[in-house]
Symmetry: C2
């Protein structure tokens, strides 16, 4: 199973597959020719640093090598990623990516779903690490984390949505990182309309490190701090983060969905149930009649425990009808700033829900996520979901 | 609720929101300034035809107008879409888009999920129509279809996967359309590795038109034929399409999942359950032990009836252990061509499943999709899903 490695041009590395499909791949590789490079060049798609420094082939697992060549993760900091419309900003330590909202990222009302938006946050965060030259083989882990057998886990996330982007809308996503206590990192995001510069979404998150084997939280090793600290910026996407404690719901919660089981397709590269699935479990517990007439304006998620593929999950949710929420929460306070005053805030009657996802064990339950979602009324009449 | 419309530069149209949030949006619009345009220009992101011809504001619904400005659907054919890395090819009637496989498009094994790949097929098809200048307000419908109250519905789809792309891999997707009988249209796709040119995936589909109100299939009106016929290319992504009839399963099928209900998040812009959900319902009926060790190599879907949000669905599936399938099917025949011979094909024991999705009515069941999926063994040992 010999594998051949060749450079077709100075900037394009080509792998030719071995094993049982070698003849076919060799045939297809003939297509890497002048006209192809021309097309890529014409579109400004050729990477400056495309050819990876070639490791010694003899000592490296062939499949790992093939994966490296296909993924082409840079080992040095890159300033521009033309394939992803990404660039380094903020004196080279922040990341900005331009994305177009895709047809399958929107719901029946043509606006981006909150799940798609969470996916875009994850994607841009990983692309930031990708371009930094720090990305190792893991899911956002640096080389130093890899050496220490550490992975990132999120402990808190807050997302404020002022406007939902629509199908085809061009958005600009900024993301950057900062210090969070002694052993944590915060990551923030701003999503703007590319045309007007209007801020649509603000988000912040807190991350800590976990040992991959013991599954215990870890201090940040000095070598990891040395890698990431130069990237820290003292800037906050959300000025005043939600300070309220999220109470823990119990079996008396108004809405309870039980016996939820992760499926194969819900697992991410770390083999955990992904964030978006958590969110879907939470939102599906809110009654349809409410979701038809409201859209999310703010959510805070506090992560307590990872959810594995064999866990059975329960989603609890309790509405908060207290109008005071409007006075402390984001939507109301920004309205007051805009001069709509207290009355406007109360009239809008923002509602919120408290959520809990937990695993149902035989002897005890364990918390996965506590959350609070805050909602505003939709501007337009709602289309009923079940016709 | 006056809305102001301004051009900041010749090429950038800006809307400034009115209504209850006007002061806020005006504030944010200050950000549309020289440095912003510079950034966009630097990245090659300024559209040549960004400013839409301005309709008379008085007679147009303001929200429709705002949506138009934000979506910015072109009214004339565009040759290049720098935001989406799209360009017209094949003498200006085919479409090519470069995409990077995103972190959330891959499964636990770091390869793109078949659901993500279907999403990318849909996305590039719509972007093709988008750039053609033919796109009206609907989900891929042309102006002529809009005038005749028609929407597209897919009647058949075949996807052949030789390789699954991995996280971060740069792919080039070509798509084009052709005639299919008197009243139909076919749409084909080729997905290639951008670096090597190796073809990873081939797909073809057949589309017909349906009246939006009566939900009955429609002949293709002459004015619609006049719009789309100039785009037809006589070229097939899949040389020999699967000719076998897909049998209809009944209650004796080996695996049956009942009482499946669409959720809000499963609906597309046409308010129907989307394709990806169909596929998920089908694949989830296949046992996990099989999915762990195999990957999809071919699937054919025949669509019979649309599934609405209030339907209750049953997913049936029956394995085919007949080794002859390997001799007729795609995987085996391409191996024979490559000189691996008959023995190699039989050794690989390709397996296939027949599928049926149907609505469970009180008096009768109605078919939604019949399908056949064909599988190959994974190269590497499978990681068990439930640890």
């Amino acid at each position: 199973m010999a594998r051949l490695l060749r450079h077709v041009t100075i900037t394009v590395a080509v792998y030719i597959g071995g094993g049982e499909e070698s003849s076919k791949e060799k045939l297809n590789c003939v297509k890497v020719n002048g006209s192809k490079s021309f097309t890529a060049a014409k579109m400004g798609l050729l990477r400056q640093d495309h050819a990876m420094p070639m490791p010694c082939i003899g000592g490296v697992d062939e499949d790992v090598l093939e994966e490296h060549l296909r993924q082409n993760i840079p080992r040095r900091k890159q300033m521009v990623d033309p394939y992803r419309h990404g660039e380094m900003v903020e004196e080279g330590v922040g990341y900005r990516q331009t994305v177009v909202i895709r047809s399958y990222e929107v719901g029946a009302d043509k606006t981006a779903t909150i799940e798609s938006l969470l996916n875009l946050l994850q994607e841009t965060a990983l692309n930031h690490v990708w371009m930094s030259g720090l990305l190792s083989d893991g899911f956002g882990a640096t080389h130093g984390m890899m050496r220490n057998n550490l992975i990132w886990v999120v402990s808190r996330m807050q997302v404020q949505v002022d406007h939902f982007p629509i199908w085809g809308e061009v958005m600009e996503i900024d993301t950057w990182v900062g210090a969070s206590g002694k052993n944590g990192m915060r990551r923030d995001w701003l999503l703007r309309s590319q045309v007007t510069g209007t801020v649509f979404i603000r988000a912040t998150s807190t991350w800590v490190m976990m040992n991959k084997e013991t599954r215990r939280l870890s201090k940040m090793p000095d070598e990891v701090r040395a890698e990431i600290a130069p990237w820290f910026i003292e800037k906050h996407a959300i000025e005043e983060e939600s300070p309220e404690k999220i109470e823990k719901l119990d079996a008396n919660a108004r809405y309870v969905h039980s016996n939820l089981k992760p499926k194969r397709s819900d697992l991410d590269m770390n083999h955990h149930v992904n964030n978006v699935k958590y969110l879907r479990w939470m939102l599906e517990t809110i009654p349809d009649e409410f979701l038809e007439k409201h859209q999310l304006s703010d959510m805070v998620l506090e992560y307590r425990k990872e959810c594995g593929s064999s866990d059975v999950v329960q989603s609890l949710c309790e509405p908060q009808f207290n109008e005071n929420i409007g006075l402390n929460g984001h939507t109301a306070s920004s309205q007051i700033l805009q001069g709509n005053g207290l009355l406007g805030a109360i009239n809008q009657r923002p509602l919120s829900y408290t959520h809990l996802l937990q695993t149902k064990g035989e002897s005890k339950n364990e918390e996965i996520v506590r959350a609070r979602t805050t909602w505003r009324e939709k501007k337009h009449g709602a289309k009923p979901f079940h016709s």
